[in-house]
Amino acid sequence: MNEEYKNKVNKKYEKNLQKGERFWPDSIYKDLLISFAIFILLIGLASFVGVHPEPKVDPTDATYVPRPEWYFLFLFEFLKYFPGELEWVGATVIPGILVAALLLLPFYDKNPYRFYTKRTFALGLMSFIVGGMVTLTIKAATVITGPMALALFALVWGTLFFALHKRPEQKTATRKSLLWLATIGIFAIIGTAYVQTAALAGDEEEAVVANTIAEKMALGQDLYSLQCVECHGADGEGGTITVTAADGTEELLPVKAINTKDEMYTRNDETLYNIIAYGQPSLGMTPFGGAYGGELSTSEIEYIVTYLRYTWDDRAEVPADAVSSSIPALAEGEVPSYEVHISAVTKRYCVSCHREGKENNNYIMDNYEDLLNGGDNAPNIVAGDMNSILLQVIQGNEVNGQTGLIHVMPPSGKPLKDEYIDMFIRWVEAGMPNTAADAAALSTAAPAE
């Protein structure tokens, strides 16, 4: 770089200043407006999009698919193209070279020209790299496949190039409209890909995240009903379990009540958590934590602990918004529906045993269809029939079925609350409606009879 070149640059800049503007007030209003627009955008995003809730960290959950923040996605995707032993090249050498190239750009870019038509190589290379990054990001973040993304980007960048490549016969207006077209194209592609991906992601099952103590209690109750009721009873009253020893002999073990003051005062949350996670094998309790062969994640165990603590510990201040019962009460003359009432009762008291993989005469109670028609003794419940097996056993009467004697349910010997038995009876009487709408139609029709 010689003095002559420097002089030329400086002179040109002086000239530009002469016919230019002043920072205040000529150009600062643009900065102000843009900053204000960003401010509004931030408030809008925080208010209407928010931050996606994520479950608590669980280092034992090996099934979790990690995703980096979106602006590192391209690097994440890029690494897929490197075989194991060369991964370090893609992970460190190439990004390192790119960073160094970016940092030292003014030193090796000796091209004295500044106008874009005279810098085709530099601009082309940069466009290629940026295009590649955007393509990789979109490929990693959306359902678009590699070739599709490449083709689309070739199209967009082609249009851009065609627009920017200065030819004398091309009008400025044409160029501008082409530029706009390319920009809209880019946004359209990103937008469509994003919408498609969001639609796909919506189908996937997501972990439920509880935010408040009340929500944790509600989720904890559901989990307790499913996982714990079988041995500990619906209200932690205990019971007996059959344990099969290593030599095949069966042994009846008592399960002590866990809803007592003794239990609650002498075990803190961490102890309760550990008991659920590791189990107490010598007492017949299997581990429930995902890391030890159980079905529960760390958050789920924590929800159960919260439920136990706030339900049975009389020292705890139950939050005002906590729902004391997940089962809605039935009004006078109201017909219960499966959807609203019966499923809530079965979920709380029955499904712990009456689900896949348990000993239950193949009677699965977690959906309407199986509840009505499933099981070895099917049908266990018949519309209008007060002698239905299910109604009999929950009212304390044993029944002779195809599989032999059917015991009283629940098997702990502690019967369901009268209002829930009444709920079942009224439901069977009314013809076992599935949805709330069906039940409502029946309750309005009832007085006419």
């Binding site: 800049y13 280092p59 003014p106």
Partner: protein, 219 residues
Amino acid sequence: MWKNIYDWLDERLGLQSLYENLLDRPEPHGTWWNTLGSASLFLFVMQALTGIFLTVYYTPSPDHAYDSIQYIMNGVAFGWLIRGMHHWGATLMVLVVFIHMLRVFFSASYKYPRELTWMVGVMLFLLTLGMGFTGYLLPFNQRSYWATVVGTNIAGVVPGVGPFILKALRGGTDVSALTLSRFFSAHIWMLPAALAGLIGAHLYLIMRHGESAYPDADD
């Protein structure tokens, strides 16, 4: 009276010359693309502000980080707003700084006499990415934990020094309380201090050389 106060302050602070030198400067005609630099600065200030207020409740420990964030989101008035703005501000800042860099590249503004401005700018961009990476771990949820496991693993694949870098980044072999507290320290002290210093240098260089002019066909 205002006049007297102003005169007193002006005499000591030199407000008039500040105004003349910093604000009432001549510059070449700019376009809307020239606002991206000040937009980056604005976002940095917003991130600093919301970040400072997040530390009022946030606790950088594996036992508390997640719960404290949940408390910010659900237990504190406007906590969701502060966290939401910090979260989205990070995304916007990476985007705006990157586009700002591309603008400078395409208008060849990095050439003489603004080479140093460019280099400082590239460092600012890298620091912004560093802020994104360290900040991502802080909520200590599934996503952030596993992203950090993978992100630090990438540094660990370098032959020879890889395992050493990995342990230095994580503060041990696992992503643990040590990782969280060093990421927190980097996120709220080291990187912001470096960013603030370099932003000062960047602004000084811009004042010194003036805003660049868009090249025309003669350049």
